[in-house]
Subunit: 280 residues, 4 copies
């Protein structure tokens, strides 16, 4: 009897594991979709809590919703620990920590109440926003972007270095030129470098602007140089994706050794040298 | 006699259908061009109606023009119903609804007059602006863009997800850092997330700006990260279009050896040298 | 004697024509470079004339410089008419009109003096700025960009249409939402459409900003949609240039018929069918 | 004895040269990393010196750190002169001048003190920021960007010319239209051209904005035209990088039949099937 019970529990655990951790089965997919909605709505609730006007009226409803979502995430977290084949590895993994942070701060916040708006409790309240990171696990194709970024990591670093170099030099020049004006906003080099980065990236808030003719001239030069530099990283990722696509496109496998990715006009396999004419 | 009449009517209906629904015949093209001009001018009239200074002087002319365009669109709508082979399908289609909305609100507005500026009538007045959607049907190549967007739909979704993820995390951080400043504009998380999106997309209105050194530092990091993420979707659509172009260029096979990928002006196969004229 | 004179004049005219109209000879190149400097400096002079502080001090020098440049451009214009094989065709051509407008307004302005700052004279003074168009004729590679733009003309039109469509719809929505706010800057649809275009293109001046939560939400949606649409034209021109490059790359000519632009693995000429093995 | 000493010194000089000038050996790499950190921290120190609030508290620590970094850069500079095979060539090279400017201004500044904030000393203080240029020598891949920019130098020049052309014409128009408004910021053509460049590059600070309907219309046209022009240089660099990549992929020829364009992992020629191992 006891062994049977154990077996039943084991089989339930295995079935739950498939639903919660895998997305291949229909139930697994449904679980993913429901969880995505819960995360999205939960973030909306935390966002609305901070709006001044709305908070007074709807605070009760928001509080109840927050309780519900915290409950769901807590149950999900406990089930994941129970189902997982290697619970410790899950708990210490990135997603394990994110899952814990999705429910833990809520309890602390609900315990202390919304009264103490600043300090540690305020930080904990906002920590709930990081539930958005739970989504990464459930959105298909998120790794495609991550992969693309990781593959061109080195080149992106060099690009950031180029922007920083330009920003430091242009920022220092702007600080030297504009810093002497009476009502200047270029009061320090860090602020001037911030101005340079905001300009090079074409954001241009307008909270800091050049007041002298020379300052405007340097700004113009800086923006145009930034344009030439910025065209490069766009090209990096584009060419990276075209290469990935090309490898996909020549997807015929060699009939002998099964290697993929031949050029479209290949007659012989490039790895084993056997004829590839059968494939046509 | 009656049958002849019917036949004549039928033939007229068919000819009208060719002019109104198809753009291949010269008359069909002329109809399209005239209609495009009417839509454009009609939108201009609705736009100018809302300008304070101009309205007083030209209001009479604008009113008359509005009557004329409404008349044209009404006749066009009725003719389309009469000509269409499946009138019900047309009426319930996207373009059918747009065509109805292009003339119906005008009557309600002209009935109530320009006096009641706000409320339902105001909404109806502005609904006339959606006449611009009628254009989609008449601009060649509009589907090319739509196709391109639809084909890379999934990847664009992932890209939007990446921007939202970054905006939610950076927005929350900015709210935590800047929200405590006395004259802050970061009064709620929704506003902070709006700030983050406006910054990441390099719009940068400047209505909300960081006031603290740390806030400016986070903003800089956020903008640069956004830059790396945004380079990706540009690459997506580019590579998509290059693939489409390549397929166009290389679709004919050699009738002798079956090799694909010839240049558009090829008369002889580049691999076996046999003539390729059969394909034309 | 007279015929000799005529011949000498004719030969001088021909030599001058080579220098002024062609850029192949060393003298022709030198002429181009000198003229480019004159145009650039002349524009600088006209620009500096409008600066309030500088004008008082340097006005005399600027006036003298302006006389010199006007003289140079007048002599150049007269020489061009004299040298040209088809003077009438040159005078009525785009560059002929630009060359005339580069010297004519200066005389009118110098005649009336700098006193009457506004009105027709002011317009004529500013017309001298269009001397910049003279440059197009002398900058190598300017046609490369023009060609690229002309070749993808249709697609760019469709892209502008897409932006306008989005701007009209989003602008109308913003006018409806924000127009009711007390201190709104969304006072008319044209202004709202201007706001929408400035936002979609990520310029974002910040002179008009959303004040309501809903307005900010619509703005966010509009910006993100604009991003997806804008990725397309970038792709258009990129793919166009890659295609041009690819044709350049396979630049081996057929040994029999001399046709260029074969694919890299071509064994037989695609136009005459003869073997191309000699080229390796 | 003396010869041995000389030999020892010579060998030490050679070993130091390998560490300081080359980055292949482990010690050379370590030297590079340490120097990069020193440069970065040194720049941070100079930046923080200009911040008003921080300076008072931490000025003593910053001064000590500045002494340390200046000492390190001085020793590095002297060692480089001593180690270099051609000291004069190093001293007069770009990196030699940058290395000198990294330590020299610090001595002048420390001698005069932080008291005289403006004038020559202020310029010298800021000159220390150019230490950032020392980094170029030590960051791998920085030349990749430089190479890419240099290779498409001509096309980038043409692109800048196109932007300037558009900016000059649009700026003049804006000056003519907006310059007559009472509270205009379009007070001169240089300012209007600055506005045009800031708009075309989508920076859009918002310190200068159109006030008239016509001014806003011209601005809209200018931005959209700029968009079409700006799509071109992005394409230029992208296509340049794709070409570089393709050359990397396809440079080995088959030793038997001479066909090029094999994939990087090819062991057998895809056209004749013979082994390609000889090439490695």
């Amino acid at each position: 009897m006891l062994t049977e019970d154990k077996n039943q529990t084991e089989s339930l655990r295995e079935r739950l594991r498939l639903i919660i951790f895998e997305a291949e089965t229909p139930r697994g997919k449904a679980f993913d979709v429901v969880l995505l909605w819960c995360i999205g709505l939960s973030i909306l609730v935390v966002m609305l809590e901070t709006v001044k006007g709305l908070d007074a009226e709807y605070s009760r409803i928001l509080l109840i919703l927050e309780w519900i979502f915290t409950g769901i995430f807590t149950i999900e977290y406990l089930l994941r620990i129970w189902c997982s084949r290697k619970p410790l590895k899950y708990i210490t993994s990135f997603y394990g920590v994110v899952d814990l942070l999705s429910c833990l701060p809520a309890y602390v916040v609900l315990f202390f109440g919304a009264s103490s708006a600043f300090g540690v409790v305020r930080a904990l309240r906002l920590l709930r926003m990081f539930r958005v990171l739970k989504m990464v696990n459930h959105v298909k194709g998120a790794e495609v972007i991550l992969h693309g970024l990781v593959r061109s990591k080195e080149k992106i670093t060099v690009f950031f270095f180029a922007i920083l170099l330009l920003a430091v030099i242009a920022g220092t020049l702007m600080y030297y030129i504009e810093g002497r004006q009476p009502d200047t906003s270029f009061t320090s080099i860090p602020k001037s470098v911030y101005y340079a980065i905001v300009s090079i990236t074409t954001v241009g808030y307008g909270d800091m602007v050049a007041q002298t003719e020379l300052g405007r001239f340097i700004t113009t030069l800086m923006i145009l140089t930034g344009y030439a530099v910025i065209a490069v990283p766009t090209g990096i990722v584009t060419s990276e994706m075209i290469r990935m696509q090309e490898t996909d496109k020549t997807s015929d496998a060699c009939p002998s050794c099964g290697v993929h990715g031949h050029l479209p006009d290949a007659k012989f396999c490039r790895r084993c040298g056997s004829s590839m004419d059968e494939r046509r």
